[in-house]
């Protein structure tokens, strides 16, 4: 499920002593440095030796340095600037066919060796209750390799003043365009991760992500009504170059502007203020069945909830039953080789390699080379997302490479890869798609979201809703949410625009596990059409 941490973090904490939730706060200059690879290899070797000496048949070591910067503003002021750094070592071992894990922030050789021994002790203790010994899909050691998110401008090196100036311009533009309030934030992440294992891999990766969330609020004092509009530029696996105020964006039918790999926050803030004002007087939707035209800024979240999660193998098997839930997409449906997850227009794939995505890395957190694979091919369920100790369940010879831990101190486990809807194979533009819709709603931006614990019944809102009548966009409407049953929804997909329209959305806050861990994930798609979907009206009166 998508966590609400971010809202909590950027919310009421203003003015209070805000404890950074991701580790210790550091001065800005510390953010621009990296750790020496030779030192990391030396420390990892200490852990690998200590673990194998104490009976480990397998050991992996993750030495991580996790840097985050938050710049939080509202209207004409900066509410908070927080730099955090978290650094330490996580050691995972197999002894007697059982996992053990320990983590330490102590970087002395003795401290690391001790943690490695502790991991073997935990594995030994847990092995007494072991009923299914771990089967690890083989991975060939890759020796010393390194990878870095191909960024142009390291966000951590951009002076704070430049960031504050940008956000103040964004806020000023929104207020000038009619906003009553605006909150804008920069959220910058750099994960410096070193992985070493007894398979003979020593992998150094430098991962960068960026997100610039904002919320514009407009108020009609006389009626007491208020409306908000959130950003249309999602998070990306990019450097500071993503925030490009020269970008004109992509103008959609109906006039809304969305963004690809260059996000103009200022233009989006101005549009947000105007569109939020329109919401105050927009006509309330008449509930009923509509053909929905869903923009990628919206569809990513529907893909996330109704495809990404149900096809996580640990959920399917029941390991998440007490928290996030299980899945309707059971093994027997996959084994039948004819379970129609969607219409023949629907091909959904998982990957950790698409450039600029939040999931993009060269190797996952257990040293597996990342790749791309189909989950649903021409409508039929063909695969799940699995890691090394699950691959055998699917008859796979190797892991699909989607193992992740959100910090050095947490154990890595199966997390969602990027899951995306493949672009349509025949040429189709958004304008041409809309021309054929008689009675529909065009939805842009993600809004409210909720789905059941087996991923059948979901409800989604949005940021902008436009009525489509006889192939024409007529007006902006309000109070729209649609309810789906997952397989019916994807089987109602009648068209997907071609690759010219392919764009990404995503989140930093996909939550899973107990204790809960978060992970960042992107979802790509082109605009897609879904026929006869149930739309409800969400307006209520409190009297």
């Amino acid at each position: 499920m998508l966590r609400r941490e971010f809202l909590k973090m950027s919310g009421a904490g203003a003015g209070a002593l805000m404890l950074p939730i991701y580790g210790r706060a550091v001065a800005a200059d510390v953010l621009a440095t990296t750790m020496d690879v030779a030192t990391k290899k030396k420390m990892a070797t200490v852990a690998l030796n200590a673990a194998t000496k104490n009976g480990a048949s397998y050991c992996d070591v993750r030495i991580g340095r996790y840097l985050r910067q938050f710049v939080i503003t509202r209207e004409d002021r900066v509410e908070n600037v927080v730099n955090t750094e978290s650094m330490g070592t996580g050691i995972r071992v197999i002894v007697n066919g059982t996992w053990g894990f320990a983590a330490t922030s102590d970087f002395s050789e003795d401290g690391i060796a001790k943690a490695a021994v502790q991991a073997t002790q935990i594995a030994k203790a847990n092995s007494k209750f072991q009923t299914e010994p771990v089967q690890l899909a083989p991975v060939k050691g890759v020796g010393d390799v390194s990878w870095k998110t191909p960024i142009v401008k390291n966000s951590m090196e951009v002076p704070l003043k430049e960031k504050v100036d940008l956000l103040m311009s964004v806020n000023g533009a929104a207020m000038k365009a009619g906003a009553d309030y605006i909150r804008s934030t920069l959220f910058l992440v750099n994960e410096q991760k070193y992985f070493a294992s007894t398979d003979g891999s020593y992998i150094d990766q430098d991962v960068h992500r960026i997100w610039a969330p904002m919320e514009v609020t407009v108020i009609d004092k006389a009626t007491g009504k208020f409306r908000t509009r959130e950003e249309l530029g999602g998070p990306r696996g990019m450097g500071y170059e993503y925030l490009d105020t020269r970008s004109k964006g992509i103008a959609l039918p109906g006039g809304a502007v969305v963004y690809g790999s260059a996000y103009n926050m200022i233009d989006d803030a101005v549009a947000a203020a105007k569109q939020a004002r329109n919401k105050l007087k927009a006509r309330s939707v008449k509930p009923g069945r509509y053909d929905l035209v869903l923009d990628p800024t919206h569809l990513w979240l529907t893909i996330h909830e109704s495809v990404g999660h149900p096809l996580e193998l640990d959920r399917v098997l029941g390991y998440e039953a007490n928290y996030a839930g299980t899945s309707f997409a059971t093994i027997d449906k996959w084994q039948s080789k004819n379970f129609k997850y969607g219409s023949d227009k629907v091909t959904l794939f998982a990957d950790k390699v698409q450039p600029t995505t939040l999931g993009a890395v060269a190797y996952d957190d257990e040293g597996v080379k990342t790749g791309r694979w189909d989950l649903v091919k021409d409508g039929v369920l063909v695969n799940y997302q699995a890691i090394r100790d699950q691959a055998h369940i699917l008859g796979l010879k190797e892991s699909q490479g989607c193992c992740y831990a959100d910090s050095w101190s947490n154990v890595q486990f199966q997390r969602m890869a990027n899951v995306s809807l493949a672009a349509g194979k025949t040429p189709l533009s958004v304008a041409d798609m809309i021309k054929n819709v008689e009675n529909g709603i065009y939805i842009i931006g993600d809004g409210s979201f909720s789905i059941d614990q087996q991923r059948y019944n979901a409800q989604f809102g949005g940021q902008l809703f436009y009525e489509i009548k006889n192939g024409q966009i007529t007006e902006q409407i309000e109070d729209v949410a649609y309810q789906i049953r997952t397989p019916e929804f994807w089987n109602a997909c009648s068209a997907v625009c071609d690759e010219r329209d392919y764009r990404f959305g995503g989140s930093f806050f996909d939550g899973k596990g107990q204790p809960s861990q978060v992970s960042a994930v992107s979802h790509g798609s082109s605009t897609a059409r879904f026929d006869g979907i149930n739309v409800i009206n969400t307006a209520r009166s409190l009297g």
Binding site: F101, R227, Q454
Partner: protein
Amino acid sequence: MTIYTEQDAKTLLQKVIKLSKADECTATIEGSINGNIRFARNSVSTSGIISNAELAVQVAFGKRVGIATINEFDDASLLRVVQRAEELARLAPENPEFMPAIAKQTYKPTDTFVASTAAITPDYRAQVAADCIAPCKANKLVAAGFLSDAHRFSAIANSKGNFGYQQSTAADFTCTVRTDDGRGSGWVARNVADIRDFSAKSDIQIAMDKASRSAEAKALEPGKYTVIMEPAASAGLISFMMFGFDARRADEGRSFLTKKGGGNKVGEKVFDERVTLYADPAAPGAAVMPWDEDGLPRERTSIVNKGVVDYLAYSRYWAKKQGKKAVGQPGNLIMVGGDKSTMDLVKSTKKGVLVTRTWYIRMVDPQTVLLTGLTRDGTFYIENGEIKYPIKNFRFNESPVIMLNNVDEIGKPERVADDESPFVMMIPPMKIREFTFTSLSDAV
């Protein structure tokens, strides 16, 4: 050792404050030992103990503020963390909403520490898992659960001479039990101050019973129903509504407590007159720390009194701007109820739906606090005071404000937790009329 004594904490914080050259300095240190065990598919999957302590230092030069934190406490590290906070403060723009450090306060200790909870051992956790798994295995049921416990301490101090110290404990247990054919699912949760009030052996029976009884679920038409909400079912909705109790949000015109034409609804009747909500740091069985995030002392605070809004949460800045007194913000949420159990409420119901819990609750419209979410792990049809049969889960679209106007009966409050709520809560089971279910879910 991550649990400092009061004297050790005081010595450390005073040392930090002395190191700072800023105009003012606030330092807090918090430490905890967290233990947990997780099981699924009738087998233990993970277990661990995490010990950590963290020092946070906030300094100010004029209206420029810097914050830094660290988890090493030797003299060099203490100096480093103070210097980092000071560096950040010098780089930070002036904050026009800056509030100076609080004056020296008096904190009344509360009963947040229970020795038995602090003494939970790995063996105890393993036994909880075993007590859940064994009966499930024997009855063709599958258990997945999580027990998490903590022993913490918290200390605050500032350059104006303020100081507070207190220890606390917590324990939270949840378990989902499913029939091995996946057609039935039940759930039980216990959030306790004193672990001696918890028995996995007896509590697991509740989840097992619900799992077995929910296997042949029938489909009812979505619509408006009388519902019996178990405490865990409504806690998430009520907690979600509390964001609207922020004074600034209401005064700015973006809360359900905003008044048409400006201002807020304090003093107005917004809920049914049987609804009374308050916060009390010393509440028996639901005690919380005696100070809030700003270090302001918490007091017993009436939030809603007989349906009338009595309270809005003021940040120190907003209180000053509006000419109000800033008081400590609530750490718990207590709803006043009667003596009836959930089953008593079922007995007095002619036709209705019993809801065990609600799930994935998200805001649809903040204007009316319209929330959506689903029922889960035990939803039953009630007829003539009896549970007749299990029914398929529903999606709801309902506002807690409307829900708390449609109250028919209120039972005896129970301590509940919600992993998305910041509050320790005492919530009663409730009978609510015209609760809005908008669609069916096939999920079990």
